[in-house]
Point group: C2
Chain length 121, copies 2
């Protein structure tokens, strides 16, 4: 799931989203994200490079411009990964509860939420 590495950035996610509506040129993409995120053309170009290297997109030369297109495979993989992860919600009970259930449940209600919030913040 190296695809997720590349998607860990809002600019690139936006580019992917834009590309999901159809192929686009580097320039169009750069202008779009440039407006939305206030970044320069070279910055956008760099993001495109990351997407290319992660093989989430391909670029095709058309004269002086490059046409970018989403690539299917990595998104299929991502979907598989997600499905695998999400599959567990079909279980009613999970591993740890089964193993060490005794002793845990008793103390739960008291300290759960508030403690969690305190330590997170």
């Amino acid at each position: 799931m190296e695809a997720l590495d590349a998607l860990g950035d809002p600019v690139r996610r936006r580019m992917v989203q834009l590309l999901s509506h159809g192929a686009s040129t580097a320039g169009e993409l750069a202008r779009a994200v440039g407006d939305e995120f206030s970044i320069s053309q070279p910055a956008a170009s760099r993001h495109l490079r990351v997407l290319r290297e992660a093989e989430l997109v391909t670029s095709e030369v058309d004269g002086a411009r490059r046409i970018y297109r989403l690539q299917q495979a990595p998104f299929d993989e991502l979907d598989d990964w997600l499905s695998e992860v999400r599959a567990f919600w079909n279980h009613k009970l999970d591993a740890l509860e089964t193993e060490v259930a005794r002793g845990i449940r008793a103390r739960r209600l008291a300290d759960t939420e508030k403690n969690d919030n305190k330590e997170t913040h």
Copy 2:
């Protein structure tokens, strides 16, 4: 899709995957990823914090230990995002091709793949 920010790290992805098999304690998770990625327990704890703050997991106090659990909502959102992106493969033609198709198609075959590889590397 801030969830994707947190998932842009292999250690955290592994943790999520482990948690998808059922709840687990900070210690168990730390040992698991510690072995696989050779990182210390505090490092693992920090990753758990990121997951917590992204609300991909919740932690529950159980005496001296913390039980971590996957949270459903963010994964549902991720799934929605992915579906939206993937939806475009149902189209046969995309925006740019429709607009500027003339002149593009002609040159395609020649320089596509090799140019792309050269510039990517």
